[in-house]
């Protein structure tokens, strides 16, 4: 305890010094620089925005920009409208907006690594490449990432395309890319030892593509874990919004937790998540053990047969006669910590989308889940409005705990 306190004091003092030196350099600039100058803290804040997205069909979707470079070169490109997703892992870029030719990862026999990425609504097929990336001031060198729809690998294995709808264009995908910064390092927990033969994730492609094991060093990691600094997690910080919504909403994506003066943990609630990144939520008298909070979900999703679903358009969302206030909702982490008595509004999706067709921020948009299929409450991006939500990566420590956790 004494040691911990001493460490905390030392860290606090270091951060204080860093803040003072930063403030000094950003000031009038008339004072003579102290020899030797301390390195300025890395800029760890990326701008994020909720808007209509590149497909012009997004609602409650959060976007940021990423700069990618051919490894070891100054040949770089900044790509905007990359979706910020706390429910997936790894950086994925759509090929059409990408003007750089990034080197594909290859095995010793020369075969290329190509991935069939599974999403609930479809699949994305594309190579795994490496790039030097930069988000805000954070950098990761030779980061493995996926190029979705890479024209160098046009033939999709039948097992991959058999999983559903192809999402290899910006329009089909709904973004120029996706930045998976969930509380784990990899999207596949065991692809180094399991080819998932009935539906492989990774393929080695030569003249044909066959399922393959992939060492973790070649898999696309959560990019935050590869930053030189501020690599234990991230914080999504969004302002509150009127219950009726807004056209856009701007906020910050802050990298690191308790690594700089702007990402300190305070008195927030820390909920650890299980190996599936899930929490236990209780709602309508049901205990829903496969629940989660997810910036990549565009509504508040739950099953409730007593609320009218939208029938003709906007199917999949709820259309109650009047706006409802629902609750209590409780959320419990694996660590036993509970948040109780949350309430949330559910508006009529058709009315909302017709009344303000240019609104892309709709905190009271709620969606259906099929009854009987899953014990899930999926609290989407609306959860993040008006909050600072920290996501700590598995095995990484902050001043208030060890990941995987979500705190708010």
């Amino acid at each position: 305890m004494v040691l911990m306190r001493a460490l905390r004091i030392a860290l606090g003092a270091a951060l204080c010094l860093a803040a003072i030196s930063c403030g000094g350099s950003g000031g009038s600039g008339t004072s003579s620089p102290p020899p030797p100058p301390p390195p300025p803290p890395t800029s760890n804040v990326a701008a994020v925005i909720v808007d209509q997205g590149p497909s012009n069909q997004s609602v409650n979707a959060l976007f940021t920009s990423v700069t990618v470079c051919v490894p070891g070169s100054t040949s770089c490109q900044t790509i905007d409208r990359i979706q910020v997703d706390t429910g997936s892992y790894g950086l994925r870029l759509l090929a059409p907006p990408l003007t750089l030719t990034l080197p594909v990862e290859t095995f010793a026999n020369g075969n290329s690594l190509v991935e069939c990425t599974q999403f609930a609504d479809g699949f994305s097929w594309g190579s795994v490449v490496t790039a030097d990336i930069q988000i805000a001031g954070e950098t990761a060198k030779s980061l493995p990432l996926q190029v979705i729809g890479d024209s160098r690998f046009p033939t999709i294995p039948a097992v991959c395309s058999g999983t559903g709808i192809e999402e290899d264009s910006v329009k089909a995908f709904g973004a120029n890319g996706i930045l998976g910064i969930g509380p784990f390092e990899f999207s596949c927990g065991d692809c180094d030892t399991n080819t998932h033969s009935s539906n492989p994730v990774y393929y080695a492609c030569g003249t044909t593509c066959v399922a393959t094991l992939v060492p973790t060093a070649m898999q696309e990691p959560n990019p935050v874990t590869r930053f030189a600094a501020d690599n234990n997690g991230s914080i999504v910080d969004l302002p509150s919004v009127a219950s009726t919504g807004a056209v856009t909403l701007s906020g910050s994506l802050i990298f690191g937790i308790d690594t700089q003066s702007n990402n300190k943990s305070g008195t927030q609630t820390v909920l650890t998540v299980d190996q599936n990144a899930e929490l236990v939520m209780t709602f309508n008298g049901q205990t829903l053990a496969k629940s989660f909070i997810d910036s990549g979900s565009n509504a508040i999703f739950f099953a409730d047969g007593n609320i009218a679903p939208c029938m003709t358009t906007d199917t999949g969302f709820y259309c109650p006669g009047n706006t409802l206030t629902l609750g209590p909702l409780s959320i419990q982490g694996q660590n036993g910590v509970m948040v109780n008595n949350l309430t949330f509004g559910v508006g009529n999706a058709q009315t909302m989308l017709q009344t303000n067709p240019n609104f892309n921020v709709l905190p009271e948009l709620a969606g259906t889940l099929p009854t009987g299929l899953t014990g899930t409450f999926d609290y989407g991006l609306a959860f993040f409005y008006g909050k600072r939500v920290a996501v700590a990566v598995e095995g990484k420590t902050t001043s208030v705990g060890t990941g995987p956790y979500i705190a708010f």
């Binding site: 069909q57 997004s58 997703d85 429910g87 997936s88 892992y89 599974q118 999403f119 609930a120 609504d121 479809g122 699949f123 039948a158 097992v159 395309s161 058999g162 999983t163 559903g164 709808i165 999402e167 089909a172 709904g174 969930g182 784990f184 999207s187 596949c188 927990g189 998932h196 033969s197 009935s198 539906n199 994730v201 190996q275 599936n276 990144a277 899930e278 496969k290 989660f292 997810d294 990549g296 979900s297 565009n298 509504a299 999703f301 358009t313 906007d314 199917t315 999949g316 969302f317 989308l353 259906t368 889940l369 099929p370 009854t371 009987g372 299929l373 899953t374 899930t376 999926d378 989407g380």
Partner: protein, 159 residues
Amino acid sequence: MPIFRSGEIKIAALLCTVLMTALGPRIAGATLGEPEITVQSDVAQLRASIKSSEDRVGYRIHEIQLPGGTLLREFVAPDGKVFAVAWNGASKPDLRQALGKYFDALVSAPKLKFADHRHLQIQQGDLIVQAGGRMRAGFYGRAYLASAIPSGVNLGDLH
């Protein structure tokens, strides 16, 4: 009251196995909307195994274990046709196989406005597909023919 006797299932399964061995992949992959025998072709095509077959009131379930661990369940109506399939597991099943002739309706369905990557809801004619899930946590879903659901069968039971 079971609609099939277990002895019949075993004999049918044995016959199918023999047939499958003889005919192999020449039996068309099919299932949704097809006769119960196509459950066996799914098992062969998917290199899977039938984990269990169970009679429920008004329908029968074949539970197919895919090599990757995902469970695929096929629901057979008293008329002997598969009226629904459901899945749950770390990865999605080959829906081209499981949906048979309805797969094209799934992949050609117009994308819903305001879709995300966690949910899928498709209605194309008689075909309804509902699915969800995400990386690590796994995927679930069901596809059914709205007009073919036997009377008295609850949608919530199709999982």
